[in-house]
């Protein structure tokens, strides 16, 4: 491993930090969901970094893991977005008229 900070690694760390910060500070559910996704991307980059670092060239396994992770993240995000939408329409509904859905 090189002593010079790997820009790839730095990017991963930055993503993690931004994601974490966003998750902690934002109150709006949509923003928070985005923050989680950013954090997730940081994690995936870390995995790719690990794959690069492995002795004997890039290791395929972390890549497989990233793919799986992305699938899961996407589906979870989709579910989250649906929930956010539901909660927002509900709030609107609350403001206008009682919800009978």
């Amino acid at each position: 491993m090189s002593s010079i900070p790997d820009p790839f690694g730095l990017a991963a760390a930055a993503l993690l930090a931004v994601g974490f910060y966003g998750f902690v500070t934002h109150r709006h559910p949509l923003r928070r969901l985005l923050a989680i996704n950013i954090f997730g991307n940081g994690v995936f980059m870390t995995l790719i970094l690990v794959a690069r670092w492995m002795p004997g060239g890039p290791d395929p396994i972390p890549h497989a893991m990233v793919l799986t992770g992305i699938v899961i993240a996407v589906s979870a995000t989709a579910f989250g977005l649906a929930l956010v939408r539901r909660s927002m329409t509900q709030e609107d509904g609350d403001r206008r008229e009682p919800d009978d859905d």
Partner: protein
């Protein structure tokens, strides 16, 4: 025959239950007492061997010694007469209660007479004490209730003394019987302590000098027949306790014995003098009891101190007790019959009075004569002198009790009068019959007769002089020192109760809830943390973990 002994207390005790439930009416109660009395008379006449019941209490020994036999006969008579007099009381509204207390007291009294071991005696003694309370307060007047209260306070104190004495006795000597007392005291570490406690404990019941204060209150407060048994018999329980549970001539017990003798003598004189300044006939009689019991304590003291032979002293003590029980019982019962103007009955009343004074040819003569015969001369003289005060006291009684012309006539119950007369007759005869030939002969010696007559005359003269000199007649409070002591105790109790209450308030009882509200509400004020705060903590945690790992490594 021996098994009949146990019937003596059991029969009236069982009947007491019947009385309480109302199953046993007034007639039944009277019958029950009379049957018991008859049984007692038979047993007293025939005598009975000792009976040991392993299964009862802590192993019970029953038996009749000579003293027990004599007193059993007397008890049968006095209880019988009292029961007949009590008939109207058995029938009253509070009849069942009175009947129950009456029968229980009877049972316990007989139990005291026949119990030979420490535990059984104490059982009977305690039941007698508490059951008699019911007799004392029966009238329910404020006076009776006060008398009952003072009686209870002193009785409980006496019980405590007895109990501690008996603990000390039985711990080292086991549940010993009366016959084994001599040997028992020999093994005790502190015989004088045990003796002192037992002497003092029984002294309460006997009304020995400083502990007598309850007696002039309680005996008069009770209904007439109850007073008769209280003054005639119940007090003798203390005497029997002394005789059974103190050894004779134990060297360590000289001091307690002497103290008792001196207190007895002092009581004999002082109580009589105080009694002279009472204004109710029954109170006077009660003081007479205190005085006579003092006289009885004198030989017991000598016995304990080893200043006389047991073989001589004990029959004398028994004789005197028999004499006093019959005479005092008769005098108290007389109070019922002297309510109307009946000079004849009043004249008969003089007979027991003379007996108590020790006039010639009365039972008092032989009893007192016998008493003096076993004493050192100096003491005998003092006893003779005490006859003067006794005369004064009983004159005071006659003055107060003598029926007046204007008094309302109350219908007499013939059977009660008959029983009373029978009792008086027994009082005249029985002591003579029981006395040893020696004592009988002694009573007729000229010196003795002289000693019997002059105090009587002296008393009369003093009384006549005093009656003129002291006008109006002084009034001495009933129960003499009890009133100030009572006031003091009430004040002390008031103060103590305040202090106690303050203390208890200062040291609040245990909390009803272990968590105080303030702590709870502070804890309950906790709010859920917000997300940023949670995130910060989580971040700190994740960063802390590697540091901790490294530190530990």
């Amino acid at each position: 025959m021996n098994l009949l002994l146990i019937l003596l207390p059991v029969l009236p005790a069982v009947m007491a239950l019947g009385a309480l439930s109302g199953l046993l009416g007034p007639r039944g109660t009277t019958c029950a007492v009379l049957v018991t009395s008859a049984l007692a008379l038979v047993l007293a006449g025939v005598g009975a061997d000792g009976l040991h019941l392993d299964w009862l209490l802590l192993g019970t020994s029953l038996g009749l010694d000579a003293t027990g036999r004599a007193l059993l006969a007397v008890a049968a008579l006095v209880w019988g007469a009292a029961a007949i007099s009590s008939r109207p009381l058995f029938a009253g509204e509070a009849g069942p209660r009175y009947s129950m207390c009456f029968l229980l007291t009877l049972a316990a009294n007989l139990g005291v007479l026949i119990a030979q071991d420490v535990a059984a005696f104490y059982v009977s003694f305690a039941v007698m004490t508490y059951a008699a309370y019911g007799l004392v307060v029966h009238d329910g007047t404020d006076e009776a209730v006060r008398a009952g209260r003072i009686y209870l306070v002193l009785s409980v104190a006496g019980e405590c003394l007895l109990l501690s004495g008996m603990f000390l006795l039985a711990a080292e000597a086991g549940n010993a019987t009366a016959a084994e007392m001599g040997a028992a005291y020999a093994v005790l570490t502190h015989p004088e302590l045990v003796a002192g406690l037992l002497l003092a404990g029984f002294a309460v019941k006997m009304g020995i000098l400083p502990l007598h204060v309850w007696l002039p209150l309680a005996h008069p407060a009770a209904p007439v027949p109850a007073s008769a048994v209280l003054s005639g018999l119940i007090v003798k329980g203390g005497l029997l306790g002394w005789l059974r549970f103190l050894p004779d001539g134990e060297p360590a017990l000289v001091l307690p014995g002497d103290v008792l003798a001196m207190l007895g003598l002092a009581g004999a004189v002082l109580a009589a003098l105080i009694g002279c300044f009472q204004h109710r006939a029954k109170t006077v009689l009660a003081y007479s009891t205190v005085s006579q019991m003092g006289l009885l304590a004198l030989p017991v003291g000598l016995l304990v101190a080893g200043r006389g032979e047991a073989a001589l002293l004990i029959p004398v003590i028994a004789l005197f007790a028999v004499h006093h029980a019959l005479a005092k019982g008769a005098l108290f019962l007389a109070m019922d019959h002297l309510k109307g103007y009946r000079p004849l009955l009043a004249a008969v009343t003089v007979l027991p009075v003379l007996a108590l004074v020790g006039a010639p040819f009365t039972s008092g003569l032989v009893a007192k004569g016998a008493l003096k015969s076993v004493m050192p001369d100096a003491l005998a003289t003092l006893v003779t002198l005490s006859s003067v005060t006794t005369t004064l006291l009983l004159l005071r009684f006659l003055v107060l009790a003598w029926p007046r012309r204007d008094s309302q006539t109350v219908e007499l119950r013939r059977v009660a009068v008959a029983a009373w007369l029978l009792l008086i007759a027994a009082g005249l005869v029985l002591p003579w019959a029981m006395a040893d030939a020696v004592h009988r002969d002694y009573a007729f010696q000229p010196g003795v007769l002289r000693d019997a007559v002059w105090p009587l005359l002296a008393g009369m003269i003093v009384a006549a002089v005093a009656a003129r000199a002291i006008r109006p007649w002084w009034r001495f409070p009933e129960g003499d020192v009890v009133a100030p002591v009572e006031r003091l105790l009430i004040r002390v109790h008031g103060a103590l109760a305040h202090v106690l209450e303050d203390v208890l308030r200062a040291v609040p009882g245990p909390p009803q809830r272990l968590l105080s509200r303030s702590i709870l509400s502070r804890l309950l004020g906790l709010r859920e943390p917000g997300i940023p705060w949670v995130g910060l903590q989580l971040l700190a945690l994740i960063l802390l973990l590697p540091v901790l790992y490294l530190l530990a490594a």
